[in-house]
């Protein structure tokens, strides 16, 4: 009986409905948020169980079935993304109950953030993410992308103030550019193959001018939305100026959504089209992103900007999956490494942004130079930031380490050692920007800056997310087992494959 319940529908519609209800019943947002956070667990566990025991799941909306109708589809990749969304989502929800609590008026001057709108938009964004991770139809994915993009833009704008509004504007234009480029690709695919279903496209797409054009347009659009260097210009202002829970969600989840779509397309639809040379192109841009993002993070004057540039750098790593997956026998290891990196980066980055948000909330600013001694005021938050930093640097026993380790092994075993050098140098650079902030925060000062009371839910959620990034390094076997289900690549998981 449990096997027959369409859990995916609930995963999409629960946050959708609570999002609308949060709009209808103003003032009930926090309760609805918690209902969603808790209520999503059973469907998520149910779907994971279905996928683990019966393999990838299909669900035909409207009963028509692909190609006429739209299918929902869940495999290991979807589950990983959904679980990642739930982890960060639950954390963000609890954080926001404190951040938007009636007693603690928010920091932004001359603008009243509306908690009801936040809850509504955030829950709808959650629905959009779930929608995207469960869709198996390229046009439906376009609608889901717009759904996601618009809710993300609105959340950024919610912070108010000139910089946030300008950032939201730029973000919206980039988002539209990316989606339209993607849409043109969808049109070409449909006219060439007469179907919109991912599964059927996977069977029929071959090397042809139309598929080249579709690959180019869709990749360009999605890469833009994923903020790969040098197309990252919209990310730092948008992520740094949004309200704290929004920054966390944007950096941890939203950029991953377009990357997820890129993975789906590259490894399932365009398998015959893409070549090692274009994969190399993305890999090189990824390397540039690692260096450029790290250097900018190192120079950032504001903590949230530092964390945002760190996202630019860390996104570079996941693009290494494309060239590494081309190696003989190392494909699956690279695939797992990339997914593990995405998963642990989500937890760690959410923790870092939430911690940074707490600092901003407590001290009213996040200028790194003036944050000396804040550890004396916010020890738990700084500990959370530290734990997140360990995962971002990629030190054991963190999830970030496992991700980098798998990528490293894929690089070494595939004879592509140059990527290994980049991965290691990237870790050192990450250590540099994390410690740059730490040396400031942990320095001892007599006159500790004044800090307003911070709700405990804000401090503890950041810590919990940081610790879950750590825990991912300890329980590596289960996520790896999930990643195997329905994976487009096969092969061993190389964990100790030194040549």
């Amino acid at each position: 009986m449990v096997a027959l319940i369409p859990w995916s529908v609930w995963i999409i519609f629960l946050p959708l409905l609570t999002g609308i209800f949060a709009f209808l019943f103003r003032g009930r947002g926090a309760q609805l948020g918690i209902v969603t956070a808790v209520g999503l667990l059973p469907p998520l566990i149910g779907l994971t169980w279905q996928v683990l025991s019966c393999g990838p799941q299909h669900y035909s909306v409207g009963g028509w079935g692909a190609p006429l109708g739209i299918d929902l589809y869940a495999d290991g990749l979807s589950i990983i993304m959904l679980v990642m969304t739930a982890l960060v989502g639950i954390g963000t929800t609890f954080y926001a109950t404190g951040y938007y609590s009636p007693t603690g008026e928010t920091k932004e001057k001359n603008h009243q953030q509306d908690p009801a709108l936040f809850w509504s938009l955030w829950l709808l964004l959650w629905a959009a993410l779930n929608c995207l991770f469960l869709s198996a139809d390229v046009f439906n994915l376009y609608v889901a992308l717009e759904f996601l993009g618009l809710s993300a833009v609105a959340l950024v704008a919610l912070a108010g103030g000139p910089s946030a509004v300008a950032a939201a504007m730029r973000y919206l234009l980039v988002s539209l550019l990316g989606s339209l480029s993607y849409l043109l690709g969808v049109a070409l695919l449909y006219f060439a193959h007469g179907t919109l279903s991912l599964g059927l496209l996977a069977e029929s797409v071959t090397s042809s001018p139309a598929s080249f054009a579709a690959t180019t347009l869709m990749t360009a659009g999605l890469v833009m939305k994923t903020a790969l260097f040098p197309l990252h210009f919209w990310l730092p202002p948008a992520h740094a100026n949004a309200p704290a829970p929004v920054s966390a969600v944007l950096s941890a989840l939203v950029v991953k959504a377009s990357f997820y779509l890129l993975l789906r397309l590259w490894f399932q639809v365009f398998t015959n089209t893409v070549t090692p040379s274009v994969a190399l192109l993305l890999g090189i841009l990824g390397v540039a992103a690692i260096f450029w993002g790290s250097v900018q993070a190192l120079m950032a004057q504001r903590l949230k900007l530092l964390v945002a540039y760190s996202t630019v750098a860390q996104l570079g790593y996941i693009f290494l999956v494309f060239p590494l997956a081309q190696g003989k026998g190392t494909g699956f290891s690279a695939w797992c490494g990339g997914l593990y990196f995405i998963l642990s980066h989500a937890c760690a980055k959410a923790a870092a942004f939430l911690a940074a948000g707490t600092v901003l909330y407590g001290f009213g600013h996040d200028r790194i130079d003036e944050l000396a001694g804040i550890t004396q005021r916010l020890p738990v938050t700084m500990f959370a930031f530290g734990v997140a930093g360990v995962s971002l640097i990629g030190l054991p026993p963190s999830g970030g380490f496992i991700g980098k380790w798998l990528l490293l092994n894929a690089a070494l075993a595939g004879g592509q050692w140059w990527w290994a050098i980049v991965i290691i140098i990237g870790g050192l650079l990450a250590a540099a920007y994390v410690f740059r902030f730490f040396s400031r925060a942990f320095s001892y000062v007599e006159q500790v800056p004044i800090c307003r009371d911070v709700p405990w839910s804000m401090e503890l959620t950041a810590l919990a997310l940081g610790l879950s990034a750590m825990a991912l390094g300890i329980i590596a076997t289960q996520p790896l087992a999930v990643m195997q289900i329905g994976a487009p690549l096969a092969g061993p998981v190389l964990t100790g494959g030194l040549p």
Binding site: F233, S277, V278, L281, P397, T495, L498
Partner: protein
């Protein structure tokens, strides 16, 4: 439920309580309302672990499948000895610490880290699977950072910085080694690890990773900085107990007694010997008594490394060598613990005959023991080492027969140096608290008793009592005292600053010391040329350099990259290149 089941359950509970109680108490310290009650009990939370070591039967195991990756705790023969001296040391240092830290404002923070490190230390001894061993090890290493930097002065922060660098390095090496080991054996259990084919990379990673903790050369640099910087109770456990975690790691993971690897064995013996002498030589020139003790620890760990190397070379001798390692570890833990506690106690001793004699005896006995004087536990340990070396082949026995007594001479010298530095110039006017004296006395008592009672040391204890070894042991000690007298005569007239000294943390100091003259030399001799070159360059490149110097260049670049025109160009050129790449690889 029968009585047997019940007692088995109680045993498992006790086993878990060993590491769990300190952890729970440490975390409970965070709750303000509990702090008052708990602060009296901090030290005593080591009791369950001590009880485990003393009363539980060997080979008691407990599995907690719901915890992490199936946590497996258990008590084996090596673990029992380690747990015994470790828990005793933590217990006494904790009780000592309660009085010692009474006036410290941050004592709660201190005990938070103290209890967490304690939990880690007990846990790693009891851990029977790789994951929990690693986690407990990491818990101990990272928590003791809080102990090292506790004082918060520049010295402590510097020590902490160097400590944490090496800890992180060690953790990376250990984790990598464990993952690779898991990959080759496919099991998380500790037991079959030694059976894994000796892979040199794994071996090296383990050797270095644990070597950092054990103060092996040249990874020892944190030790003489951190041990003196930490408050006395913390330095006692750092030098007495935690340093042994590295040793235990070696015993657990290296294929001792199973696979012969003469190369690694010889390397271990060599490294151990160098450490034994290096510690003594550098230690003698120290001024801070706790630094002297830290160097002594490096030297003593060298002896243990030597016996381990013997076991690595010839698996057949391992039982004998193992007895030597374990005896030495126990003996050293007690002696070093007593010396550190004594060093902390010395400035608080009242100017009274009895008190002075107590201090002199309390410091003298462990010092003599370390030097291996007759009738002390040190002699038992040294004898065990000799027994282990005897069956070695090749040139080693001869070298060792010569070098070991020499090292003992050095140790004697070092201990005298310690005595000179630690003996208070002026005694306190009021007696030190009983809470300080009592743990110290108990500790000294265990130093006297120590190795004699160890089952593993029965053979060597028997031999140590013979007249033959008695006289053999006497001459290095006597020679050491003689040398010390000569040195005293030489430097008697000189003030303290006239006595040569080596800065603590030798290599770190050397590196920074070396950097200075290099700068000086380059400025002096290459100066004119470089200045000329710099002038020319700066003239030519000044527009570029000036922008770059202020890192505004990078900012500027980011701004340029942020314009729509730049992004548009990038997007379009990427797309065109992408399309063309696809096209050209199309058949």
């Amino acid at each position: 439920m029968s009585f047997l089941d019940l007692s088995e359950m109680a045993q498992k509970l006790l086993l878990m309580l060993g590491p769990a109680l300190p952890l729970a108490m440490g975390l409970a310290l965070l709750l303000r309302s509990w702090q008052k009650i708990l602060s009296r009990l901090n030290g005593w939370s080591a009791l369950p672990a001590l009880a485990v070591a003393v009363i539980l039967p060997l080979d008691t195991y407990a599995e907690f499948s719901w915890l992490l990756l199936k946590v497996r705790l258990g008590l084996d023969d090596t673990g029992r000895v380690f747990l015994f001296f470790t828990s005793l040391l933590w217990l006494l240092a904790g009780v000592f610490g309660r009085s010692y830290m009474a006036k410290d404002q941050n004592q709660k923070r201190f005990f938070f880290f103290y209890l967490l490190s304690m939990s880690g230390n007990f846990g790693l001894i009891l851990a029977q699977d790789m994951a929990s061993f690693y986690l407990f090890f990491a818990l101990m290493s990272f928590s003791s950072y809080g102990l090292v930097v506790h004082n918060g002065d520049a010295e402590a922060l510097r020590a902490g910085r160097i400590y944490i660098y090496l800890v992180v390095l060690g953790e990376v090496m250990l984790f990598s080694a464990l993952v690779m080991l898991y990959e080759t054996t496919g099991s998380l259990n500790l037991a079959p690890l030694a059976l894994a084919p000796a892979n040199n990379i794994i071996f090296a990673l383990f050797f270095l990773g644990f070597g950092i903790k054990a103060g092996a050369l040249p990874l020892h640099v944190w030790l003489p900085l951190a041990h003196p910087a930490a408050p006395t109770p913390a330095s006692a456990v750092l030098s007495g107990a935690m340093i042994k975690a590295g040793l235990l790691g070696w015993l657990r993971f290296l294929p001792l007694g199973q696979v012969a690897s003469p190369e690694w064995g010889s390397l271990c013996i060599l490294a151990g010997l160098v450490a034994a002498f290096f510690g003594v030589i550098v230690g003698v020139f120290q001024k801070n008594p706790k630094t002297v003790l830290a160097y002594s620890s490096i030297s003593q760990m060298g002896f243990m490394t030597v016996s381990m190397g013997v076991g690595l070379s010839i698996p057949a001798i391992w039982p004998v060598a193992r007895a030597a390692v374990i005896t030495y570890a126990l003996h050293h833990a007690f002696a070093k613990g007593a010396l550190f506690l004594g060093a902390g106690l010395a400035p608080k001793i009242k100017d009274g005959r009895l008190q002075k004699w107590l201090l002199a005896f309390g410091l003298g006995l462990p010092a003599l023991a370390l030097a291996g004087a007759p009738l002390t536990s040190g002699l038992v340990a040294k004898t065990a080492l000799k027994l282990a070396i005897a069956p070695l082949t090749g040139p080693w026995p001869e070298y060792l027969a010569l070098l070991l007594p020499l090292a003992t001479v050095g140790t004697t010298l070092l201990m005298i140096r310690f005595f000179v530095t630690v003996w208070p110039v002026r005694f306190a006017s009021s007696p030190g608290a009983l809470g300080l004296r009592l743990p110290f006395i108990v500790m000294v008592f265990f130093v006297a008793l120590g190795a004699w009672l160890l089952p593993e040391a029965q053979k060597s204890a028997h031999k140590a009592l013979s007249l033959d070894s008695f006289s053999l042991a006497l001459w290095p000690v006597a020679a050491g005292i003689l040398l010390a007298l000569v040195a005293f005569a030489l430097f008697r007239r000189k003030t303290d600053s006239g006595i040569p000294s080596i800065p603590a943390g030798d290599l770190v100091a050397i590196v920074s010391w070396l950097a200075k003259p290099c700068q000086h030399v380059s400025q002096k001799y290459l100066g004119p040329g470089i200045q000329e070159l710099r002038a020319t360059l700066s003239m030519r490149l000044s527009p570029f350099l000036q922008v770059y110097k202020k890192t505004e260049f990078l900012w500027h670049m980011e701004k340029v990259l942020s314009s729509w025109l730049a992004v548009g160009t990038a997007l379009l050129s990427m797309s065109v290149v992408f399309f063309l790449l696809l096209l050209f690889s199309w058949q």
